[in-house]
């Protein structure tokens, strides 16, 4: 029996594996300099909503760079703990927990998907950490899933739908249809919109839900056209939204039915081009806000990234501004003190006057409705603000997701 000689490919395998094993660095404790303020950002940098995560990342990085150039907060430097969750709730919880336990971080922001937020929020008390949402729209985070350590700086999905419905009260559309992605956010938003239309005595003809990952929307476009509605509320995101809009454009649906949406960001018109022209939507942050703080912010952003700030980028900036106000008010970053301070924070920033509501930690802020149109200087349709509604009209009652009037 010949002596078994190590096959060369085996040597190669062992080198590759020891190399990769080298990555399994022991859990070295990160050096703690003069106690910087750590802000944890477990973002979905990859996966289906990777583009949203990248936006939130840019928002955090620019804010921290600007803030540190102005001496940080309470004289302490701010440090961003960035991790990629791939949009998976299990990874989000694990990464956040690691930031709490390894880096002693007690402030989170930028968690990208609502499903990730809903998985992290119940853990905040155990971790004794605060989470300021800049992107999660799910109404339940400030309703039945509310926890004291959670704050929402961004406009919620119900508030977005509310702004659109307030706009529609004075608009000339008669019959409304709705289409949403068949999961929690899609269903909740369409429900809010439906109750709003009925409250406004408009004719709501029906709704349909498409499974996630639908590629051919011809059936749904046919249903919308057959419904006889003259306006259709669309609650979609990511690939599905792009596919729906480009196919609706090819069917010339927008010529017959005004498309309405509860939230929009610039990635959509960039992806579908002219098919987005004429779309009316509520927008959480629009670079067209004409107040001095926003103009300064847009200039700073364009210098840094060469484009105008998008919807989520503006929201992330505002969330961190609110955090800064809370920290300065509490004179510390300790959880209890910061929470109490944040509950009464009010700022005048890129979106005008914004105040945190004590009872459910929702940032009450103006709601704006935009319409996408061609504009010189942009090779894709950009939003024009066509209506603004004050915060108290768009915010739902405390810990509620629906509206009475």
């Amino acid at each position: 029996m010949k002596q078994y000689t190590g096959v060369t490919r085996r040597r190669v395998a062992q080198l590759a594996l020891t190399g990769s094993a080298g990555l399994l660095l022991p859990w070295v404790r990160r050096g703690s300099a003069a106690e910087p303020i750590k802000i944890g950002a477990p973002l979905a940098l990859t996966g289906p909503l990777g583009s949203v995560g990248q936006q939130l990342k840019r928002g955090c990085e620019l804010w921290i760079k600007t803030q540190n150039s102005k001496g940080g907060l309470l004289g302490r430097e701010i440090k961003l703990l960035l991790e990629d969750t791939g949009g998976n709730p299990a990874d989000a919880v694990r990464k956040a927990q690691e930031m709490v336990e390894r880096d002693g971080c007690n402030i989170f922001t930028g968690i990208t998907l609502s499903s990730e937020a809903l998985a992290v929020v119940p853990k905040l008390d155990e971790w004794n950490a605060i989470f300021i949402s800049s992107d999660n729209g799910d109404g339940r985070l400030t309703a039945e899933s509310f926890v004291p350590n959670f704050f929402r700086a961004n406009i919620s999905a119900p508030m977005g739908a509310r702004a659109v419905s307030l706009f529609l009260r004075s608009a000339e559309f008669k019959n409304f249809y709705a289409i949403g992605m068949d999961y929690a956010w899609g269903r909740n938003s369409v429900a809010v919109f439906e109750s709003e239309m009925k409250a406004a005595k408009k004719n709501f003809v029906g709704s349909v839900f498409s499974p996630i990952g639908t590629k051919d929307f011809s059936t749904y476009i046919t249903k919308i056209r057959q419904s006889g509605a003259d306006a259709c509320f669309v609650t979609m995101a990511g690939d599905d939204y792009n596919a729906f809009l480009s196919q609706a454009g090819q069917y010339r649906l927008p010529e017959k039915v005004q498309l309405l949406s509860e939230v929009i960001d610039l990635t959509v018109p960039r992806a579908v081009g002219d098919a987005a022209v004429g779309l009316i939507s509520s927008m959480r942050y629009c670079f067209r806000f004409d107040n001095p703080k926003n103009k300064e912010f847009v200039a700073l952003w364009s210098k840094e990234y060469g484009t105008v700030p998008d919807n989520n980028e503006g929201e992330q900036w505002q969330a961190l501004q609110i955090l800064a106000a809370g920290v300065e008010k509490a004179k510390s970053t300790e959880t209890k003190g910061l929470r109490d301070a944040l509950e009464t924070v009010e700022i005048d920033d890129i979106k005008g006057h914004v105040a945190i509501r004590k009872c459910d930690h929702q940032a009450v802020q103006s709601g704006q409705v935009v319409k996408l149109a061609k504009a010189e200087g942009f090779d894709y349709p950009v939003p024009q603000i066509i209506a603004t509604f004050p915060g108290d009209k768009t915010a739902p009652a405390c810990k509620k997701m629906t509206y009475e009037d």
């Binding site: 349909v208 059936t219 046919t222 057959q226 990511g238 480009s246 090819q250 992806a271 081009g273």
Partner: protein, 289 residues
């Protein structure tokens, strides 16, 4: 819209959707039929076709050039992968291919994300087919008619290629008995690389055609790979007419299923697949396993 008009419109829709699914399925079934390889990266080649199509349209300004170049490029990438990696695994059992193509899918998705960025990219349909035509007095995009037509043309082309040409004959022979073909002096490895290249190229064609409908996006490969497997399983692993039948069946069930049974839409495909696998494990037109 009267019922018969609705049925006609939806049938044409289903045909255009079947064309996309066919491009994906035929490539996969060609690869499995000839080389017994379950190509888990097939969705990634489909996505690569869409992204290369996007870049080609931007560079050359013409959808048609992109339609010619992208599949070629994807086919070359596929052939190189077969030559470099799969060739070493032929003496291993089938799970080795499954694993290595699963790894490739991860690698390709990341490379595309690094190359083209995380955002979805727009690919406009060719000008001549970006209008509408009145079908049953309802506007109907001409691009979908073109897609349905293209599907039929490509199906015929592949059928003729396999039946009439020497390479087609070689491919069919290799699928039946690779050793014998090798014994007859043909370089089977070359045939295998070509087949793998053609299979991936076909997926690339699917990608280029799909981009105007769904935009070129990172999420494409994950969803499409499951559809591809469903089609090939229903039609019969390795059976060319099977992939055609599978594509048409799945498309019609999806289009009409979503309309009449919206709640079941997500599960419909898998119920069919289960039914077929239980009663005819080899697939409707497949060789009995």
């Amino acid at each position: 819209m009267p019922l018969y008009a609705f049925l006609v419109v939806q049938s044409v829709n289903a045909l255009s959707q079947a064309a996309l699914l066919f491009f994906l399925g035929v490539g996969l079934t060609l690869i499995f039929g000839i080389m017994r390889i379950v190509n888990f990266a097939h969705g990634a080649f489909y996505m690569l076709g869409a992204f290369i199509g996007y870049s080609a349209v931007r560079l050359t300004g013409s959808f048609w050039l992109a339609l010619a170049l992208a599949p070629l490029a994807v086919g070359v990438v596929g052939a190189l992968f077969e030559f470099g990696i799969l060739r070493r695994l032929y003496r291993r059992d089938e799970s080795a291919f499954l694993m290595v193509t699963f790894g490739l899918a991860l690698v390709m998705t990341e490379l595309i994300r690094l190359g083209w960025g995380p955002e979805a990219l727009q690919v406009a349909p060719p000008p001549v087919f970006s209008g509408i035509v009145m079908l049953m007095d309802e506007p109907f995009p001409t691009y979908r008619l073109f897609l349905a037509g293209a599907g039929i043309v490509v199906a015929l082309a592949i059928w003729q290629f396999l039946e009439r040409t020497r390479l087609g004959l070689l491919i069919r022979a290799t699928s039946q008995n690779a050793e014998m073909v090798h014994a007859l002096g043909t370089d089977v490895n070359l045939v295998r690389s070509t087949v793998f290249g053609i299979g991936c190229g076909l997926a690339g064609v699917g990608g280029v055609f799909a981009a105007p409908l769904v935009t070129a996006s990172i999420g494409m490969s994950a969803t499409m790979i499951i559809d591809a497997f469903v089609i090939v399983i229903i039609g019969g692993m390795g059976s060319f007419p099977g992939s055609l039948l599978g594509a048409v069946l799945v498309a019609f069930v999806q289009v009409f299923g979503e309309y009449y049974l919206p709640d079941l839409a997500l599960a419909l495909m898998y119920l069919i697949m289960l039914a077929v696998l239980v009663f005819r494990p080899g697939g409707l037109l497949g060789k009995e396993a």
